[in-house]
Symmetry: C2
Subunit: 385 residues, 2 copies
């Protein structure tokens, strides 16, 4: 039986910095999202770019997820090799990547690709004809002016649909990502954004169908909108990624608390500048990433929230600055802690909650699973393209 | 004979995003630094954290470097396994890492570690006694208030020196890093900082020697100060890292031009938001890193300077924003380019110069060497701890 007490000696044996995953928090996050989706009556397709880890994706699938979303074709290849076949590559397809996508389809991967312009649709159709390779294509819809996608009320939407359908592609549906939801922080605004994402994506689907085109799938999602939507009429599936770990950005958005954040960086105090109120730790930006996502939010956590070895936040102490392999731990605000060296002596092990779990996770070759205070297996994650 | 014309077809065959190293620019950067150090009469010890790549470190050694500097013990292990024995681990040593450092020493690695507090010195001495393992220790000196190190005029300096020397350690010297030089951008200010770094580090050495302690090495360095120092009397060696690639931050500091930047990210245009003047490319922050080092400098390049496939900057076009796998290419300033889709059609291959080469390089498993327009071997780099 694992002891519920943290095994500090075991944690001290890890080389720092190290990425820890609190598996109980993660499992709770997975169940929270899946049960919401079940209640809302939609399928759930997690975005695995957050973790790039087979073990974690398997837990999401075991909880009820149907298929996965990826951000690179390398992720698609890795997860397909591990047995996942239903994969959405959710980045606009450009001609140079079609060969790699076709190779996956030829091996039996039910890969779906996306297009958001006539130019892209034409390239897909042309490649298909030249290589006798049919693709399933979803049309990306812009529902929040955030980044990419075709406007749901535009003529372009129908043009793209016709190009694909008449060109021999399987027109699988429409998809959108309300990334602008990350800039919000009230339940009212989040609910409104979720409804905007839903209604505009459904509008796109309705227009395609009214034009006589197939549109079986209506796929929406971002962690904030997925956790805020009150109804998803007309939607068939939801996608979300960062909810599996959560992070300080999501805590500021208001869709989790610090007690939900499942990813932390284990670090060691290596020095002090006591007159400045600084402790120097061995988690710099190489470990935390350069992500400063909380900088413009209601609570700026610098490069991360300092926690004790058990993962409990030490209120008022953050990683206020970072060099490559040095982090500066200090009190928030303008009053330095004169007793910083006594509070955090050299050799002290601490944990740091990240601003952005996708960016921090990407700095590490592996996660150390932490369950009820016990270090379990190391789970590798891949990177690159 | 390699052709001097860029082989665009070859570059198009690479999966994007990809990290390209212009080997001619890099070789020129290596020779520039080494020849400066030869002229100034000091040894040069490159910091290999920038590249974490055996092939590149070997070129630095072949050009005349003596020993290397590392930022993690993993780097020390990897480079020692590849035959480099003279290694400075330039991050303050804390007790939990001594075992790993001792294992390297026991295998024959001439590893030097650093201490900047009596607490750290005591931990080293105690470990040495308990494990019959002697260390060579350098004392880190703070010459610019930037981060870590003991003040050169402090009593602590002598206390640490005595603790180490009398405790059986080999007191190898003093070292400092004027990281504050990154905040400067005039030759006068850089020369003054280089002189401050030199004089204060020499002062520390003189005080140790006056106290009857050995101090053979006086090691200083940062790329900006190394390239700005006019004399290095009393200094025995210089360290620098990012000069091997250079980057946009260094161009703003004024120690290189855009024509010297040897690292770039190959990317593909995957879409547009023409009404906003955006082209969407497949280099997001996962490729560029989240480093926004030019944000507070004289020229803010967003997430990078756009170049054509030959590596020539396309003036006025930057990567203005980044999501995980999407970058937004736009014109600098407030006037969007209405012809962005015609200028950069879908499928266009471009290169992006990074803000910070150390951070961008770290996002890639390998570099593609590009020599006179021909893609050469892929050089792997390692990551993690």
């Amino acid at each position: 039986m694992p002891s519920p007490t943290l095994d500090a000696m075991q944690l001290h044996d890890l080389s720092t910095p190290a990425a820890l995953v609190d598996t109980q928090r993660m499992q709770r996050n997975i169940e929270r999202m899946q049960s919401r989706m079940n209640t809302l009556g939609v399928a759930f397709r997690p975005h695995v770019k957050t973790t790039k880890c087979l073990e974690i994706a398997q837990m999401q699938i075991d909880a009820g997820a149907r298929g996965i979303t990826v951000s690179t074709l390398k992720e698609a290849e890795q997860f397909f090799a591990a047995g996942v076949t239903d994969i959405l590559y959710a980045v606009g397809m450009a001609a140079p990547k079609l060969k790699q996508a076709a190779a996956l389809r030829a091996k039996g991967c039910a890969l779906k690709i996306i297009a958001d312009s006539a130019e892209s649709a034409r390239a897909i159709v042309q490649f298909s004809k030249e290589h006798q390779q049919s693709f399933e294509v979803w049309i990306e819809v812009d529902t929040d002016g955030h980044r990419s996608g075709v406007k749901p009320d535009s003529d372009d939407l129908i043009t793209i649909g016709r190009l694909l359908h008449e060109g021999g592609a399987t027109l699988g549906g429409v998809m959108t990502h309300a990334g602008a939801s990350y800039d919000l922080h009230t339940p009212q605004a989040l609910q409104a954004m979720a409804e905007q994402e839903r209604s505009l994506c459904v509008l796109a689907a309705q227009r395609l169908r009214a034009a006589g085109l197939p549109c079986p799938v209506v796929s929406v999602g971002s962690t904030p909108t997925a956790l805020s939507a009150t109804q998803l009429e007309g939607v068939t599936e939801v996608r979300a990624g960062v909810y599996v770990f959560f992070d300080l950005v999501m805590a500021n958005v208001g869709v989790c608390t610090l007690q939900d954040v499942a990813l932390s960086v284990l670090t060691t105090v290596i020095g002090h500048q006591a007159d400045k109120g600084w402790a120097i730790v061995d988690a710099g930006w190489m470990a935390m990433s350069r992500d400063r996502g909380t900088q413009k939010q209601t609570h700026d956590y610098g490069y991360g929230q300092i926690c004790d070895l058990a993962g409990q936040p030490i209120e008022g102490y953050i990683l206020s600055a970072a060099n490559q392999e040095h982090g500066i731990l200090s009190r928030e605000g303008d009053a330095p802690d004169p007793a910083i060296a006594q509070r955090f002596p050299i050799g002290t092990a601490l944990r740091v909650l990240p601003n952005h779990a996708c960016a921090t996770g990407a700095q590490f070759p592996e996660y150390h699973a932490l369950t009820a205070g016990q270090i379990g297996p190391a789970w590798s994650r891949f990177y690159g393209w």
